[in-house]
Amino acid sequence: MDVKLINPFIDAFMTIMPQVGFQNIARGKVALKEKAADSLGVTALVGLTKEIRGNVAYNMSDETARFIASTMMCGMPVAAFDEMAQSAISELSNMLTANAATNLTALGIEVDISTPSLTIGDGFTVKISDAQYVAIEMIADGHILEINIALK
């Protein structure tokens, strides 16, 4: 997978997260991985088509998902990962991927994105590619969000 395709996703995170209320955004580890990824509890999957095809999976723990939803909703407490919080995470993954798609267009690569699907549960796996994919850890106000990207 071409590494230049990764930056649009990192840039999207850097752009969008402050807009939804986060202060400190940082990039953590980047790794090339294979086979299915273990979900941390909540995984939003968004597909891409057109000039390149693939999937991006936003993987996070239940606690991180609640923290993000709460931050997006102006600090309203989110005790359980309920419908409202699910809608917030789904919307965030949509915004991040749409922004990354805009960044890809700026590189001359047209993409369309599908609707996000949010999977919730304990101990499940997510496979987004038959080949290698890139796993990037992004940190927003101390909470880790893993972005898995497979594109070709």
Partner: protein, 287 residues
């Protein structure tokens, strides 16, 4: 034709008069006004309007809080936020809690009506279109391909899903759609049925070895074929849809739920002698 009922939440009399002026000559009607957040929630409960217009500034709360309370009562409530400020953060927060659309004050007649129409795009009409054009095509393709791939006859049934989430126990293959409309298909089944299907497709008897990986791949390929053929059939019939499918994402686990807020989804079941193969297809409406 039945009128579409609008609850107007705004504390200014002038706004009421303007709203009335715009809406009175259309197929919308104002079913009531609310001047405060508390009043809006009470009236929403009693009247269950088709759509709510929500001013950002109310005497007892802001429009976001009030919308949040209404969406707690009905997660599918349609709310159009009306605000003098066109603030990006406000829109993001609004979207996050589930507000359908935004219009700016002073109200522009066409903009308001277009937005209300878009948000309310008759559920019944769009359901009929989804069912006839898309769902039935998927059913036809699923039925035909289960026979050609696994050699089994299947009894097909489908229904509009009323559950916001899909329960998964086994494997789920998620394939996204882009084009008109965007959406996704999820083919899912339990592990036992998956293995039965994989054996039938690969021509392996019960005493031959079948790895988990082979079984997963078989299911993935089956889902890919069904989604791909359905979409190309739809594109052949409707020239302007330009539907494309994304590569599959495969979820494996127990007691999972998959949620897609804001999608209209249908559950399709193919009952076969090998077990039930299920498919849930969902489309984003309006936007």
């Amino acid at each position: 034709m039945e009128k579409i009922r609008v609850l107007v939440v705004d504390d200014s009399r002038m706004s009421h008069a303007m709203m009335d002026g715009i809406i009175s000559r259309t197929n919308f009607e104002i079913c009531d006004y609310a001047k405060t957040s508390a009043e809006a929630i009470e009236k929403y409960k009693i009247l269950s309007p088709d759509v709510v217009t929500m001013d950002m500034n109310l005497p007892d709360a802001d429009g976001l809080e009030c919308s949040q309370r209404i969406l707690e009562l009905n997660p599918h409530a349609k709310i159009v936020m009306v605000s003098a400020m066109r603030d990006a953060n406000l829109m993001i927060q609004g979207r996050a809690i589930g507000i359908s659309a935004f219009v700016q004050k002073p109200l522009n007649e066409n903009e308001l009506l277009d937005t209300l129409r878009m948000v309310c795009q008759s559920n019944e009409d769009s359901l009929k279109i989804l069912e006839e054009s898309y769902v039935k095509t998927f059913i036809k393709v699923l039925h035909k391909n289960l026979f050609s791939l696994a050699g089994v006859h299947s009894d097909m049934s489908y229904e509009l899903s009323t559950e916001g989430k899909l329960e998964i126990d086994g494997i789920a293959i998620i394939i996204g759609f882009t084009g008109k409309p965007i959406g996704r298909a999820i083919v899912h089944t339990d592990i036992d049925t998956m293995n039965q299907f994989a054996r039938a497709i690969l021509g392996r008897s019960a005493d031959e070895i079948l790895s988990d990986e082979e079984a997963n791949e078989c299911m993935e390929e089956t889902a890919n074929i069904i989604a791909g053929r359905s979409v190309s059939m739809i594109n052949d019939i409707f020239k302007d849809k330009e539907l494309r499918i994304t590569p599959p994402g495969i979820i494996v686990g127990k007691k999972l739920s998959i949620v897609n807020p804001k999608l209209t989804t249908f559950n399709i079941v193919a009952s076969t002698e090998l077990g039930d193969l299920k498919m849930n297809i969902g489309f984003a409406g309006g936007e």
